[in-house]
């Protein structure tokens, strides 16, 4: 058990190191930081001084170590475009994205699993078929189109919900939340649906196919042959086994919600880190890109770690380390 967790943590650390290397390489090979920091009027002496100051004259591994050291302390340098420390900008923007991701993630998982189970159990029912057909449209509709469609309907035509922004926010310490004000709650509905819909269809389709697979297994047939109620067979025997593979993918999906937030935030002008990132890409603002990359990867690694531990809780085969057999 302990070795398993330790192994996972080590692997996660390795992933972070690799991502850090990618982020660091962006500094190294994309654009020249000196160019970015000094204006047109510069002397060779200036350049040399700045080089030493930034440590650019040091060997690559030393620079990488410095970069990591700073990153761990939350220092990602200064945004080329805004001229403010990247960490400061991120802290300011993160709550908006995290709230959006949490709400839509919750929607996606709860509705996705529910509908997936429903469509698997009533495989040939009318409702299940209708849901499955609709879900294909859901997968085929790009997120940004869903957003535009919702804005057109609920903001432009009906005028019920705001088309952009976060509404009023309340500050609790450094965290700003829109979930405590009426306008904030109204503002999050459309973006959350837009962001969650695609993940929801994916989770639903996955749950359905995994569950159909499990329902074909011998132990499910044996459970039926023992006369157990359909409900017991479907939920006690089949659903739990379905969840084992579903958890991994769902974990990954949750991670990608944060990334897909880029699109939603652009459509709804949602003031989160996604909007920040897309602007950074357009203006090649490397420190912001690198910091965003690191932030996202920390989150993914965290989610993956939780997923692994969940696995552990659900699947007894992992817990026993292979002993006890025979």
């Amino acid at each position: 058990m302990l070795t398993y967790v330790l192994k996972r943590v080590l692997q996660s650390a390795l992933v972070l190191l690799v991502v850090g290397l990618v982020a660091f390489s962006m500094f190294q090979f994309v654009g020249d930081p000196i160019d970015n920091m000094l204006g047109q009027e510069r002397t060779d002496a200036d350049i040399a001084r700045l080089r030493t100051e930034l440590g650019l004259d040091q060997p690559f591994p030393v620079q990488y170590y410095k970069f990591l050291e700073n990153a761990v302390q939350g220092d990602f340098g200064v945004s080329y475009r805004q001229g403010r420390p990247v960490a400061e900008i991120l802290v300011e923007r993160a709550p908006a994205t995290l709230e959006l991701a949490a709400v839509s993630g919750f929607l996606a998982i709860s509705i996705g699993i529910g509908l997936g189970v429903l469509t698997a159990i009533r495989k040939d029912g009318f409702l299940a078929n209708a849901i499955m057909s609709l879900s294909l449209i859901g997968v085929s509709l790009p997120t940004f189109l869903i957003g535009i469609l919702l804005i057109y309907l609920f903001s432009v035509e009906l005028g019920w919900l705001p088309a952009f922004g976060r509404g009023d926010v309340v500050h609790i310490g450094w965290w700003s939340t829109g979930l405590l004000t009426g306008s904030g709650l109204k503002a999050i509905i459309l973006p959350a649906i837009t962001l969650g819909l695609y993940q929801m269809t994916l989770i639903m389709r996955l749950v359905r196919s995994e569950m159909l697979e499990v329902l074909r297994q011998d132990y499910v047939r044996f459970a039926r042959a023992r006369g157990l109620k359909d409900r017991t067979v479907n939920f006690r025997h089949a659903l739990k086994n379905t969840l084992v593979p579903v958890i991994t993918v769902t974990g990954l999906q949750l991670g990608s919600i944060i990334a897909f937030a880029i699109i939603t935030e652009t459509v709804f002008q949602w003031p989160g880190v996604g909007l920040l990132f897309i602007n950074a890409v357009q203006f090649v603002d490397i420190p912001v890109m690198a910091a965003y990359l690191m932030l996202i990867s920390v989150m993914f690694v965290g989610i993956n770690l939780i997923v692994d531990l969940l696995y552990f809780a659900i699947d007894p085969r992992l817990r026993t380390d292979g002993k006890g057999a025979h």
Partner: protein, 313 residues
């Protein structure tokens, strides 16, 4: 129950047409319709220069007076009629869609082909060779999988933008898109091919070939590859829909196809500005085309998965 297939000799074509695969295709109206839609869209994209009533990129044929003409209604000034209306610069929306679809399809197909070749190669090698080669490839895949494809594509795009001199940006944009989407998509192919390879490599026909002294390359290409391709076909189809959507998304976000070479996504981005001022057609028709394309490819992929899944037969 007779396994003796002693029927009269059939031609290859007749045999293929009689196969369960073709049968299940013909029996599925959804598959047939989506296949026809895909073919129709692909053909009209390929022959866009012949079909399109206007060349939207020839400034000579444009008349700014024709701007914002509604569909099927004569323009107030020139009296010209456009099926699907015109945009702000007087470009025929129908023609821009045809040309835009060319870009979307080209990027999608090229990106999927790139991802497929890369993924199959790495998956086959990882599965068959095993050892540290496998560990290396699959760890790389794991790391990449933790990053959603759209993010990877954006990063690659951002990096390319920094590396490539600014005057080449528009020119290179399409290729950067292809590489960005392709690189973000190889993992699925690699994982599936590796999984299938692990199953196949323990089968006795592979052992028979090894016993003969066949080299690794021959065994991988001649024996294993043909047997792992059917899941690849399914993924390729679904990936094509995803790649088209990804391209549209990137272009919509302004990090994809340049305005000089607009794809469907670029058109929607442009049209979005006019949605609220009442010129709905500029965004509606490209969006509908994109949806039709992605949906029919997805439906085809969905059918293909069921048809090729031996357990469901």
């Amino acid at each position: 129950m007779s396994d003796q297939s002693s029927t009269a000799p059939q031609s290859r074509l007749a045999k293929a047409l009689d196969s369960d695969f073709v049968y299940s295709f013909r029996r599925s109206p959804v598959a047939v319709v989506s296949f026809i839609v895909v073919m129709l869209l692909v053909l009209s994209a390929v022959f866009a220069p012949l079909i399109a009533p206007h060349d939207p990129f020839d400034p000579g044929s444009l008349d700014l007076m024709n701007g914002f003409t509604a569909p099927m209604a004569p323009n107030d000034f020139t009296g010209d009629v456009f099926w699907l209306g015109t945009d702000d610069q007087g470009r025929d929306v129908f023609s821009t869609i045809l040309y835009g679809m060319r870009v979307s399809l080209f990027v999608g197909l090229a990106a999927v082909s790139f991802a497929m070749v890369l993924g199959i190669t790495l998956g086959l090698v990882a599965g068959y060779v095993g050892g540290w080669v496998e560990t290396l490839i699959m760890r790389a895949a794991d790391v990449q999988l933790t990053f959603p494809s759209i993010l990877v594509a954006m990063l690659i795009f951002g990096i390319a933008k920094g590396v490539i001199p600014i005057q080449h940006h528009d020119q290179m944009a399409i290729w950067v898109l292809i590489i960005a989407i392709g690189l973000s998509d190889w993992v699925q192919f690699a994982r599936v091919v590796r999984g299938a390879t692990l199953v196949e490599k323990d089968k006795e026909y592979v052992q028979a070939a090894r016993m003969m002294g066949r080299g690794r390359g021959i065994i991988m290409l001649r024996h294993i590859l043909p047997n792992v391709l059917s899941p690849v076909l399914v993924i390729a189809t679904i990936s094509l829909a995803l790649a088209i959507i990804a391209e549209a998304t990137l272009s919509f976000l302004g990090v994809g196809a340049p305005p000089t070479q607009p794809s469907l996504g670029t058109l929607i981005r442009i049209g979005q500005d006019f949605l609220f001022s009442g010129e709905w057609w500029i965004i509606l028709f490209p969006s509908a085309t994109l949806l039709a394309l992605a949906l029919s490819v997805n439906l085809l992929g969905d059918w293909l998965r069921d048809a090729l899944n031996p357990r469901l037969q």
